[in-house]
């Protein structure tokens, strides 16, 4: 086990800075998620750590040792690609044994190791098959088993669940997390799916335009976003941002409740909310509408649990409130989080 660390890491492709000065350090045995929209540089960062790309500037450390000049094979890492990259001309057994062959392990030892990894992932009965004869979920397990046999100090996973259908993804998420807990290897996991990130990560590093915008536990990222990008990237629907004279006021849709049914003792702020549309989503109702802002009206969304049967009709105005402690304040120019302002 080891920690992975980057210092001032940069990667430029021509004029484009795919990774733009990233300082990041994992903790021992941690499940660290790199989260961001596509093109934010998260996969490039992972490939830099793996040694598949050479950094333009900065350092990468694995287990305290600078690995910049080392080829991927010398970095004691294992990587699972989005496509799983199974070797199509080899059986599952040979796929899993492939990294062991590179280590010069004897055939008997290899067999033992492959069987150990296969039983850990429940794929013993698939060992004689070829990748084309496997389902998406089975392929993912084979790829994990192949990563596992190397006993790497770091696991690098690049959107390994994105090729699975929605139902399978939920169970695979659970399995993958349990698997990581069991083996306890430091894992860097790249995804653009916030549900995956929130559900699996010990910590999440939110990336945008090649930079790390915030790093923290899922709770911190969600409840205490560092800037407007993080605030609006996480959460579905995203955080409401209402423009005020010299700042932006943010609040989560689930904290924005009709005054008549909210039974809160805390200090609150009330808005006149003009409803334009109501979406019924089964467990929730999404109320779309506008509230008064500094430059005219700002759009806002409220998420009400289906258990709240309070009647709301489009076209009408209602009093909605938010607890003061649930309000976030952001600088208008930089988008960065600021201290509370007087409303």
């Amino acid at each position: 086990m080891a920690i992975v660390e980057t210092r001032g890491l940069r990667k430029h492709f021509g004029d484009v800075a795919a990774v733009d000065g990233v300082d990041l350090a994992s903790k021992e045995g941690e499940f660290l998620v790199l989260l961001g929209p596509s093109g934010c540089g998260k996969t490039t960062l992972l490939r830099l750590i793996a040694g598949l790309e050479q950094p333009t500037a900065g350092e990468i450390l694995i287990g305290g040792q600078v690995v910049n000049g080392l080829p991927p094979r010398a970095r004691k890492i294992a990587m699972v690609f989005q496509s799983y990259a199974l070797y199509p001309h080899m059986t599952v057994f040979n796929n899993i044994a492939f990294p062991l062959k590179a280590q010069g392990m004897s055939p008997e030892e290899r067999k033992k190791k492959v069987e150990w990894a296969a039983s850990l992932l429940g794929i013993n009965r698939l060992l004689h098959r070829f990748p084309r004869q496997l389902s998406g979920g089975e392929r993912q397990r084979v790829a994990l088993a192949r990563a596992l046999v190397r006993e790497p100090s770091i696991f690098l996973l690049d959107e390994p669940l994105s090729n699975l259908d929605a139902q399978l993804r939920a169970s695979a998420r659970d399995e993958l997390q349990q698997f990581q807990r069991r083996i306890g290897t430091t894992t860097v996991y790249v995804t653009h799916d916030q549900v995956e990130a929130m559900g699996m990560g010990d910590r999440i590093s939110v990336m945008y335009q090649g930079k790390v915008r915030q790093i923290g536990t899922p709770q911190e990222i969600y409840h205490e976003p560092a800037d407007t990008f993080v605030a609006t990237f996480l959460g579905s629907p995203p955080m409401n941002l209402v423009e005020r004279k010299d700042y932006l006021l943010g609040f989560r849709p689930e904290h924005f409740l009709p005054k008549d049914i909210a039974s809160v003792q805390d200090k609150t702020v009330t808005f006149q909310f003009r409803v334009t549309r109501v979406e019924y989503l089964g467990a929730d109702r999404l109320i779309y509408g506008v509230v008064a802002g500094a430059n005219g009206e700002s759009k806002a969304i409220s998420r009400l649990s289906a258990t709240l049967t309070f009647p709301i009709e489009p076209g009408k105005g209602y009093d909605f409130l938010i607890r003061s402690q649930d309000l976030k304040f952001f600088d208008k120019a930089t988008g960065l989080r600021t201290g509370p302002k007087l409303l």
Partner: protein, 281 residues
């Protein structure tokens, strides 16, 4: 009923295919019949050329095998073909791989440029190449052809292989790098096994290109013992205005059949190779 209808509606297709098959096979059929004909049978214009009007004879095969160096020509052609295939693979595989993988956008342009070299006709190129051959002292030696043939097999095969290498996902190769292999190890263990159809295509292609090459073989080699089949047969069996037709036919058929069988063996993969190269090259 529908089957009958379907069969009937396809009649024109079968008709065309049959006509084309006859058109393509007729020269071979004619050659096959002619090679066993007596001179007096062949040279009598009133005789049906597709029938034996006199009993067949083996004397022209005897002429071919025992009074010319036919077997020597065949051996020379096979020897040159095998060596050229090996040289082509040794050069074209790494060239195509690096053009496909390592040089990015330049790779494609370079690949096209290399392919353009293949389009320069040998009827022009043999002039400067004859100087090269002379300087190296390889005139009248089949080694001149071993040297010269790769100049057209390598460009074409490089271009063909580029298409194959590009069709192999980069992930697989990078996975091998992460799994503990060097780039060369990854190439040998993952890229090459997955490129076998392409490599077979290249083998067949390079081999047939050398087998039917005529200009260079005619220009650089004039000693009988060093001639290839394409030049040897036509120069040794056409003496002045005397054509040894039956022996000529026999020589063509005997060489064409193994090549045809070889092609047939790899036909599917060969077609896949051609189309892939065409699309991805």
């Amino acid at each position: 009923m529908t089957n009958l209808k379907g069969g009937l509606s396809r009649t024109p297709v079968y008709g065309i295919v049959t006509l084309f098959a006859i058109f393509a096979a007729l020269p071979f059929f004619w050659a096959l019949i002619t090679m066993f004909k007596e001179d007096s049978d062949l040279y009598t214009p009133a005789n049906n050329p597709f029938l034996y009007n006199l009993p067949p004879t083996l004397e022209h095969l005897e002429l071919l095998f025992f009074r010319t160096q036919f077997l020597r020509f065949v051996f020379n052609s096979l020897f040159i073909g095998a060596l050229v295939v090996v040289i082509t693979l040794v050069v074209a595989v790494p060239a195509a791989y690096s053009l496909a993988r390592l040089t990015g956008r330049w790779g494609e342009q370079l690949g096209i440029a290399i392919f353009l070299v293949y389009l320069v006709p040998p009827t022009l190129l043999f002039i400067p190449l004859s100087r090269v051959v002379a300087i190296l002292g390889l005139q009248d030696s089949l080694w001149s052809l071993v040297l010269v043939y790769p100049t057209f097999t390598i460009p074409f095969c490089t271009w063909l292989l580029m298409g194959f290498f590009k069709s192999i996902p980069r992930d697989i190769e990078e996975q091998a790098l992460v799994d503990g292999y060097t780039r060369l190890g990854a190439l040998v263990r993952t890229v090459l096994p997955l490129s076998i159809p392409g490599i077979l295509t290249v083998v067949v292609f390079a081999f047939t290109l050398t087998m039917h090459e005529f200009i260079y073989a005619l220009a650089f080699v004039s000693v009988s013992a060093q001639k290839t089949i394409s030049v040897g047969v036509t120069t040794e069996l056409v003496r002045g205005d005397v054509f040894f037709w039956q022996s000529l036919m026999a020589a063509s058929v005997l060489v064409a059949i193994p090549v045809a069988l070889l092609y047939n063996l790899f036909l599917d993969r060969f077609v896949a190779g051609m189309t892939l190269g065409a699309v991805k090259g």
